[in-house]
């Protein structure tokens, strides 16, 4: 029987790096998030060696661990929201709840063998109209689209600065494989009567551990 054609060296190298195929190239209008730059600079020993803040020679980062986020992992993905931005209508009276806003994340790039160790929403809201900021802040609730419990409730003190909301991994990805997509419903409720706010930016920071690229920790020298 004819054997499958051996992969060309470039494809073999991609596979060795755990990548299925060479990505098409940079999306046109997508800047690299500052957090990802920061994680890269802290993580890459050659960058650290070459960088102005030279680390002490002994301080190599722990393998398969993301120091800055404090979780196990060797792949960090910054996944943009792919749902169409929608302008929430103003509730007819302040006593009515603010409408839900949905976000949708494509997780198809995550391999079945990868275990999720952190899923953090990176959100930014803005006032839907002038003079809306209630002094007592807001309450954010997040649930999966469709029936099911609320995954988290969190206080939001002010609109404008980024809001980080960590999803309990056990609630949405208790074990591998990670679901291929994740649709969430967000409600940002003002604690005092005020107009609703609008979600203007949403992304998911997902940390996973690919055991195939992780060697057991080296045994200490005897």
């Amino acid at each position: 029987a004819s054997a499958p054609e051996p992969p060309r060296p470039a494809i073999a190298l991609l596979q060795a790096l755990g990548l299925r195929d060479a990505p098409r190239g940079a999306p046109k209008a997508r800047p690299v998030p500052p957090l990802m730059w920061r994680l890269f600079r802290r993580r890459d020993p050659q960058e650290a060696r070459a960088g102005p803040r030279r680390k002490s020679p002994g301080a190599t980062p722990r393998p398969c661990h993301v120091e800055e986020l404090g979780v196990a992992g060797n792949i960090v993905r910054h996944i943009p929201d792919r749902s169409a931005p929608a302008r929430p209508p103003e509730p007819s009276s302040a006593s009515e709840p603010c409408p839900e806003q949905t976000v949708d994340f494509d997780l198809s790039a995550v391999e079945p063998l990868e275990h999720a160790s952190l899923a953090r929403l990176e959100l930014r809201f803005e006032a839907a109209g002038p003079g809306v900021a209630p002094g007592s802040g807001w309450e954010l609730s997040v649930a999966r689209a469709g029936p099911g419990p609320v995954l988290l409730r969190q206080e939001v003190r002010a609109l404008g600065p980024p809001v980080h909301a960590e999803l309990p991994v056990a609630a949405w990805a208790p074990h591998a494989p990670t679901p291929r997509s994740l649709s969430l419903v967000l409600v940002l409720r003002p604690r005092a009567p005020a107009a609703c706010a609008r979600l203007v930016e949403a992304a998911l920071l997902l940390v996973t551990l690919d055991p195939r690229l992780c060697h057991p920790l080296a045994r200490p020298r005897r």
Partner: protein, 119 residues
Amino acid sequence: EAEPTAGGVPGGACRARRLYVSFREVGWHRWVIAPRGFLANYCQGHCALPAALPGPGAPPALNHAVLRALMHAAVPGNGGLPCCVPARLSPISVLFFDNSDNVVLRHYEDMVVDECGCR
């Protein structure tokens, strides 16, 4: 880019030689955000005595490697010399765009040869 060796023959004792992998050369510069490339290096050189014995600060030699070098010195030709291989490696991280428009940071262990040894 690799450190040239004299006339194609590995010169001198076993040690790490410079090898720089440029992502542009590999054609990945459109989707790799950083780094532009990395120093992978490689091991080359002979492992006869005294090279099979570690220099100052190098990882300890395997006794077996020293034994083979001794055997080769006494009776050249049977069993050959130990090999010059990586003895200490370090990781790299790559930041890139994937096909789902995600920005991905992946960490790869054992990608850079820091030290070579006779094994």
